[in-house]
Symmetry: C2
Subunit: 413 residues, 2 copies
DNA sequence: AAGCATAAGTTCAACCAATCAACAAATCTC
DNA sequence: GAGATTTGTTGATTGGTTGAACTTATGCTT
């Protein structure tokens, strides 16, 4: 039996798609695909790559690799750099890296008590990061977004001074986003705000493509690294949400409502949750629940995560007990997620990040008890690499990810 | 601002891929992609389609559509059929349908007390279905698989008599499958069996490509229909597993261990499960648990689902209570799955299918209580359309799905 | 019945991207 | 300095889609 033919059936990767959806493939699609292939290679390689390396690792001919690189160079996405001399014989290679001046991304985050702007260049490096503190709840959406646009425009100007042009803007919002609108943001007290329209009133932002998404989604994307491309990112804020990242891409579900772990049941007969059900995770591990169990309910704390961490360091017994209960509930629910999705990494973000020292042991313990395959492949739990700035960073990176995945749309003409 | 450019960022579909993984795209890839596009259109259309329709709905030119169809016709995948006369003027179109004699698929299922074989033709219609009853646990794996191969060969012969040639074989196995081997099948009492080698000893099967996968996975795929392409298929047997089907394709997780809902926690402090944890779903809704709660433990029942259903019809109070408890636990866990994955359909299979009349109300109730978006988009629960033959059917269909998705590999020369 | 309009399908030159083979360029080795 | 070796480029060739013209087959109109 031909092993090769057999692979045609056994192969479980997603079906080959030259172009997305049901679109036809034309000559241009070939070029687009291969451009992306080459650029991704340059982007993901730890050191500069040569045309010859592109050819040999992709399977393209050196001739084709050369013409692709030619296009990328002319389009300003890639730059030639000298390569350290090797001891090998033969004509020395010319290194290629992502052009630092090439199209970067602007990430904006509108949140309850601050507005953040981050610009990354094409290589993903942070070029500008600005935080504008201030309670947005006292403002109208229009006013808050006018400020947001101004903060974004200032970041754009600063990026331009550093020689980075920006390809697009992505905005992280603390609520339910659909089709350019913020349908509901309980913590801001906003409802059905046309964020796209209000932001693009600003002349500098009008010129750029604009993407909007949930803050937790972008925060999860901000945690993607070459070594961690599949994980569940738990973001504890007022509510508890999870961003499910599979191979570097967000799993959004059929309607974008995935990751609602805050209302997964921990104890079926537990206390009532404001969602109408009983025993939800939020009742045990939500910010509110932890504050209440620690006897801190009602006190308006600026940064609850940091405040709680400070108090935990002092050894407050009520708080420590509350944290342990929260960690137990969190671990139980996350074990379920890992069992269902076969994911082996959990990243704790949001208020859980500063509290991680008190959470990690119990969460880890529950995971190793309850995840079926934990003895073969122990699941790992770690703290988010970025703090509150994760969402703006992830948003900015999502822009450059779009550039790298579809270079043909971003070549300078 | 250009709305088109903005879409480049906002577009959340998976990135365009001309060919899978990091492979280069060549001229042939264009042809392959467009062949698949055209064939899928023919496969999914409810009525025969014309070359002109292929052209207009795909965006290809009529010229290209014609040459693609020419290839598919010559390759035996598609057939011309006369089209009912329309009242329109102009040259009448020629209809195209999947060739009924074209490459079909053979699905085999090896299970504890039977071996099943199903052959479907390229259109997905069942051509042959044979069940060979008999306890496989009393046989050695080699002997059982010799019988399996013989059953498969007989089905192939029967298919051939009906004019259906078969492109490949897929085998559903009740256990952990990896790389052609059955690593562990507790209910069969098998361990590390090289199923591929043993089956392909049979001369008739040697000639065909062979795929192996878990029985629950294929059963889930068997439930895919044009109207239901995203769902969670719960398969209650000795254990409880879920097949997660997203847009017609199985989500397998990073290591193929997804869907282990049997060990998702229902009550953190519940009774011990044999997996080492406590309060797992299996403790409440497993076949064993239901039998025990109904006072039927230990009795070896041939088809436990049917036997329980019969008894439930008689109104056995202990059993009805057990079923309600199971349904409550199942509903709680499934609500979590739906909250996390944003999937709105649940399909009950395995022993839950015959018991569905007693389970559906409570499962549905728990879902509507606990799924966050249930009041906007009520989740639906339904019974699996196919009974125990689902796995063999799904396996057979997975073969033709491979043919339709990569037609270039299956054209007769 | 003839002529016209209309739609389906085919043919063929043109185009475009990748390939292949030969070549030029830049280095190392002996 | 000659030969070996590797990188990158050039130009003819191949293969697949396109676009426009053409053929075919039907309904509608007069």
């Amino acid at each position: 039996m031909s092993r090769l033919v057999s692979d045609a059936l056994q192969d479980t990767r997603t079906a080959r798609r030259l172009v997305a959806g049901g679109r036809p493939a034309r000559q241009q699609s070939l070029r687009d695909h291969n451009l992306g292939l080459a650029l991704r290679l340059v982007a993901e390689a730890p050191t500069p790559v040569s045309r010859a390396q592109i050819a040999s690792t992709t399977g393209l001919t050196r001739a084709t690799a050369s013409t692709l690189v030619e296009t990328l160079l002319a389009g300003g996405l890639v730059r030639e750099v000298p390569l350290p001399p090797t001891a090998r014989s033969g004509r020395p290679a010319v290194g290629l890296v992502l052009a630092p001046g090439g199209p970067g991304g602007l990430g904006l985050e509108v949140n309850v008590d601050y507005i953040a702007a981050t610009v990354v260049d094409l290589t993903g490096a942070v070029v500008v990061h600005e935080v504008h503190a201030g309670d947005q709840r006292v403002l109208t959406p229009a006013a808050a977004l006018r400020t947001t646009a101004a903060v974004g425009a200032a970041a754009l100007a600063a990026a331009q001074r550093k020689g980075v042009r920006v390809a697009g803007t992505a905005v992280a919002l603390p609520g339910l986003v659909h089709d350019g609108r913020l349908l509901l943001a309980p913590n801001l007290g906003w409802q059905d705000v046309d964020v796209r329209r209000l932001l693009t009133r600003n002349r500098r932002l009008t010129a750029l493509p604009l993407a909007l998404d949930n803050e937790a989604n972008y925060a999860a994307l901000g945690e993607v690294s070459p070594t961690a491309r599949t994980f569940v990112h738990v973001s504890g804020e007022i509510g508890i949400g999870a961003g499910i990242v599979l191979d570097g891409e967000l799993y959004r579900g059929s309607r974008g409502w995935s990751g609602e772990i805050g209302h997964v049941t921990v104890v079926p007969s537990g206390p009532a949750c404001h969602c109408g059900a009983t025993g939800c995770l939020e009742v045990y591990a939500g910010q509110e629940a932890i504050l209440r169990a620690a006897g801190l309910a009602g006190q308006s704390v600026g940064a609850p995560g940091a405040a709680l961490a400070e108090r935990a360091t002092l050894g407050d017994p009520a708080l420590l007990a509350a944290l342990d209960a929260a960690a137990g509930a969190l671990g139980t629910v996350l074990a379920g997620v890992l069992n269902v999705l076969d994911i082996s990494t959990v990243v704790l973000g949001g208020i859980y990040a500063p509290l991680a020292p008190w959470l990690l042991p119990t969460v880890g313990h529950e995971l190793s008890r309850r995840v079926l395959w934990s003895s073969w492949e122990p699941p790992s739990v770690r703290t988010a690499a970025h703090g509150p700035e994760a969402a703006a960073l992830g948003a900015a990176r999502s822009v450059v990810a779009a550039v790298v995945s579809e270079p043909e749309r971003w070549l300078v003409t």
